[in-house]
Symmetry: D2
Subunit: 144 residues, 4 copies
Amino acid sequence: MSEYPVDLEAIKRHFRQDHFAATSGVEILELKQGYARTSLTIEERHLNSVDILQGGAIFTLADLAFAMACNSGGRVAVAINTSLSFLRATRSGTLVAEATEVSRSRRISTCTVHVTDEQGTLVALFQGTAYIKDEPFPPQEAQS
Amino acid sequence: MSEYPVDLEAIKRHFRQDHFAATSGVEILELKQGYARTSLTIEERHLNSVDILQGGAIFTLADLAFAMACNSGGRVAVAINTSLSFLRATRSGTLVAEATEVSRSRRISTCTVHVTDEQGTLVALFQGTAYIKDEPFPPQEAQS
Amino acid sequence: MSEYPVDLEAIKRHFRQDHFAATSGVEILELKQGYARTSLTIEERHLNSVDILQGGAIFTLADLAFAMACNSGGRVAVAINTSLSFLRATRSGTLVAEATEVSRSRRISTCTVHVTDEQGTLVALFQGTAYIKDEPFPPQEAQS
Amino acid sequence: MSEYPVDLEAIKRHFRQDHFAATSGVEILELKQGYARTSLTIEERHLNSVDILQGGAIFTLADLAFAMACNSGGRVAVAINTSLSFLRATRSGTLVAEATEVSRSRRISTCTVHVTDEQGTLVALFQGTAYIKDEPFPPQEAQS
């Protein structure tokens, strides 16, 4: 398994092309090796039927940070399992998701993501497991 | 803990007001007590940066079915924990999420959701736990 | 990736050598390809400090069924992630865990395990994800 | 919901009566409000059929720390959902599980547990959700 050079700027550019995250309003704040931060400013379209931030919006926010953190090693990492705990209902303001790769073996990357509100209160806790392929990330065609 | 009458049509109408699910293109197919089905027809906006259905879109699809199933008892049920396994990458077509309440105690509802493609292949497996409150669902103000 | 012949009897014999499961009282009932059943008869040593079946005993019961189901393909499968929901407190009797491999790709096996009591009531729900290696199971040295 | 006085020593004594954890060799190291540590020294009886620490033994170690942390508030907390990721195979030595209550609402306690080996390497990551009852912990009869 050869190692590939890691180009964090190319990885960040690549994730800006995530259609669902972008149209959902998730923004990329930061990317370092094994670490990423994203944010979401809550609008009416993110709420559920009782006017609380919908679970899918929180998931999308956390999942993008997770995807960036586990792909920041320069090889394709594919999500296989995620766990998400909802700790506190939220209605407005900007949330930040902070993903940290807590373990990385040859084939498996495990990340935790903390989602906090503007007061720094933890509103959701996410854990993600990804399978690491023998392919460079970003994919070659996407870099040109 | 008094029981409330269950009005499945009112519950269905209520979930049609879920902003994030609706703007994400998730549709409600069916609701019975302890059971719900939703669907999502994949468009370009649902893809991620490598043109595969984004995890957040799958979560939103499964989560709405889960929310409907655990609220179908006529009392407010709030999601506290979810687990989502991605089994197969998908790029097009219509996915269906089928939620079944596998256990319901006084306070806790547990549901499993199977997400399948048009061939009936399982593409994602979701498990959700909700906390049941002493409040009628849909909330009174929403019914008027 | 070459395929290996599957010897279900050898796989069952191999899992009888699981020290922790055996000393915990977990018994093997059945093994088919992609399917396994185990049982546990509750004794005082399996209870927790409030005389309810301890979570670790339920996990051990479900995990052995999971391990057998995902290794029943004849290649080594290593658990990477598990989720366990406790649905009902149990104090006595015999529990049965039934594991089904719901999805198997080249590298990932996903199983669900239902744990039921003597009345057939679901008392716990388990989901497991395993990574599949390019090695035969049981390992060669263990077969001799 | 009245609050109950918290007696950490009584809580610790109570958890020493957890039959399954005790007979499995799990030891209690420390208990503070919202925080607990347990340990397990690996013996042959804790191994699985390929001589690696069995998943059920790791779960039992982590689960006791989780149970202590979420019950340390002086009210009965019952586990409803757990997630466990296996990060690294272990064969010998002493493992330590460190549980932290990351969120506590009126009804729900959420804890993360880090399991590390003697080198401080993370070998497993556990997340637990508990439902908090209106009852003092330890239960009254157990204190006498």
